[in-house]
Amino acid sequence: MSFRSYIPSKMKVIGDHNADVVVRAYAENPEYGRGLDPDCAEPLEGFGTSFNAMIPREEWNERIEEMERKKMRLPDLVDDLKARGEWDGPRVLNQSRTNYCWINSPVHAVMLTRAKQGEKYVPLSPASVGAKIKNFRNVGGWGSEGLKYIREHGIVPHELWPANAIDRRYDNSESDAARKHFKCDEWWLLQPRNLDQMMSCLLQNIPVCIGLNWWSHEVTAVAPARVGENSYGIIFDNSWGEGYGDKGRGLLRDSKMLPDDAVAPRTVTASDWK
């Protein structure tokens, strides 16, 4: 029997068969903020460098199996760091009641990239970016505009700007100096609804911030999965805390995993933040 990815029983699996149920279940619950607003600005075009690192489909099955067997995927890395006390916080972010999913995802992706690079765990504040972009309004946006700001200005650590504080009090010279330590150096802007590009990133352990119009939500794709003979899915980190799914993670498949906006940070500033 050919290899299938291990899907923990608690993991939320969302595909064409149940997406409408998922949307209805969370739409009315204010505890689960979202914030991908189709009425706001369109995803950025021409931002970042074009993707040019494709891994051909004939390699996918073998690579997915090896990554899973050797525990070399991003969720494995975070779990391992957490077990050793080197990831001293929740595995995923929690946007709470804000409409800031679109900025939680890029900030989380930067934190994952820092872990991958061997930088010390520093919890970072999505509100320190989202509030600046949206002039301190609690409104939707796109991951690509969030990453563009992070590229130019950086993110403030949680200790200087609480994660969900859309509040001008924290916008000061100290937080402004701190954010320079947490910039994105290099990234790719992926083509919308391009599975091959997204899977190629995940097979290289590059997280992808994906905006999903059907869900009005943005999450972070963190690992590839094989769910059938030639059928694939993506494991994602949500921004609804560790109580969601399996330690905050879920799995998207079918047409529901195809992003309408997708950016992939590859490198972040090296910084020994004390």
């Binding site: 070399m72 910039k183 150096d185 590859r266 500033t269 910084s271």
Partner: protein, 140 residues
């Protein structure tokens, strides 16, 4: 002519051994420690790669750069480990890591490591086990 000279040399060597016994040869250790490629107070290992090219690497090499096995071994054996793009912004990084990134290399991906006294600067090994063996020789 060349064969004649080679034969003559072998003959002379054999005659010398028969007459004087085996010469006293200074034993050579299995591993010749190389000097530390960069200064550091604690053992440090830096993997250097081009983040736009990792699609060309086999998963076994990617495992060193981003996986858990090698970095867990480093953590448990007193090595600090980082995995950096060769063009990463380093102005806010520790001086020792900056020096590690500046060690001369001829290619990427690359591995440079130092325990303060010995170390190495080599092309990235083929897998996590090979990288662990490399560092084990320099672990106190």
């Amino acid at each position: 002519m060349k064969q004649f000279i080679n034969g003559l040399c072998v003959g002379l060597l054999l005659a010398s051994v028969l007459e004087n016994g085996l010469p006293n040869i200074i034993p050579i250790p299995d591993i010749i420690p190389s000097s530390a490629p960069f200064e550091t107070d604690v053992p440090r290992c830096l993997a250097i790669y081009e983040s736009g090219e990792t699609h060309t690497l086999p998963a076994s090499k990617l495992d060193i750069l981003t996986g858990t096995k090698f970095r867990r071994w480093c953590s448990e054996n007193g090595w600090e480990f980082k995995s950096w793009d060769e063009e990463i912004t380093i102005e806010r990084a520790d001086e020792s890591w900056k020096k590690a990134l500046q060690v001369e290399r001829t290619d990427t991906p690359w591995l440079v490591f130092s325990n303060g006294n010995t170390g190495g600067s080599v092309p990235l090994p083929n897998d996590a086990d090979a990288a662990i063996e490399l560092l084990r020789e320099h672990t106190k």
